[in-house]
Subunit: 237 residues, 2 copies
């Protein structure tokens, strides 16, 4: 069922990714996506600054999926070891950990596809609000800091809570922004592999700020409705 060899896409890029690495993978989004990708037969390397923590989390997630036929393997390692081993990476660190993560990755990037899912988000007594970013977006800052990475913005609006409810397929569009068509196609393939997710190419990387700014709205809706909403585009063929 699962193709162990990645199939090259029309642009020479991985069309059916066989594995993915997650930088900051022990957080809620990283764990949620790791489980869903594993369920789709994709091997996942979960990264953390703390290797023991990464291994623990990876084992726990693997245990959760035990017995599922065709599940991809979930393993844990340091963030740097993950970046060395994988060409397709998701950056899922919290905003506070971003600068440290970028510094630790800088010398390792060499054409890696780096998916930025970091949401610049803060809270006060009135609820969530967008946190100020250096440029127009976190993804833009990441691209500026890591010029040898091919940065793509995606997975901002996918609920970590819902990802963890593995019995239920997702019901989400995954808007993807980036300037490298082949990298965007690889990320789209990765999104489409999750049951109930649909990749939607949504323009150049300079629109990443629009996706990053959505999360406070989704949280506000969730709080009011007691839900874990996702985003869908209607009238999209």
């Amino acid at each position: 069922m699962v193709d162990p060899q990645p199939t090259p896409g029309p642009a020479g890029e991985v069309e059916r990714p066989g594995s993915v690495g997650i930088i900051g993978g022990t957080g809620a989004l990283g764990r949620g996506l790791a489980v869903r990708w594993s369920m789709a037969g994709i091997d996942v390397r979960l990264g953390s600054r703390d290797e023991a923590r990464a291994k623990d989390r990876a084992t726990a997630l693997g245990d959760q999926l035990q017995g599922r036929p065709g599940a991809g393997e979930i393993t844990g390692a340091t963030n740097r070891a993950v970046a060395v081993a994988e060409r397709l990476l998701l950056l899922a660190v919290p905003l506070e950990g971003l600068d440290a993560a970028l510094a630790s990755l800088q010398d390792l990037m060499d054409g890696h596809i780096l998916i930025c899912a970091v949401n610049p988000l803060t809270f006060d007594d009135r609820g969530p609000l967008p946190a100020p970013t250096a440029g127009t977006s976190v993804a833009g800052s990441v691209a500026a800091a890591l010029p040898r990475a091919r940065v793509v913005g995606a997975f901002h609006t996918v609920s970590s809570r819902e990802l963890a409810v593995v019995e239920r397929p997702m019901d989400d569009d995954v808007p993807i922004v980036g300037d490298d068509d082949a990298a965007c196609a690889a990320v789209a393939a990765l999104a489409d592999r999750i049951d109930g997710c649909r990749a939607v190419l949504a323009g150049p990387l300079r629109l990443a700020g629009s996706l990053e700014a959505l999360t406070p709205v989704l949280i506000a809706v969730n709080r009011r409705a007691g839900a874990h909403v996702g985003v869908r585009f209607s009238r999209l063929p």
Copy 2:
């Protein structure tokens, strides 16, 4: 079918709006919403700086709906006359016309509910992108400029093109942000009256920038997919 008398809501506000005014109503969004609201039995006053233009557009839209049972009346007037006559107003001017519109409304606002649907949007050879705004959002600037208006952000993501295709119901959630609960409820009622639209309360006015920033993404998706997409929240009860 249509209740000619607005019913007071639980917060003492209009729950079934009987009429609405549109400032800058001769543009594509204003015309599209005017038609849909008229179809729902709501009377619409279409405003323009140019009274003759407003009347012409109103007549043309009315002609388009002729023969529909229960359609609300669409009339045209100057923006100022619309603001004097209506308590529930939609601000649908283009960004370039915003300052002039605010200046002309300033002395007329007195507890009016003013829905800001203005998108700060610009284009270059790579497509659409968010235009810089004075504060964190256009709606925030409007609220600052018109302290006697009750400003609500809504209708940013609803496609003008699709609104004009009156044979097809819409398929859109309408996220609504604002700090005045009763005003938000009135705007929600107005959104819900459109066939196929669902109002979604989405937090305080300070999140308006997140909704305003979405339009460039929707346009980018549209250009790529040849569609006129809207936004839906999945998993919302």
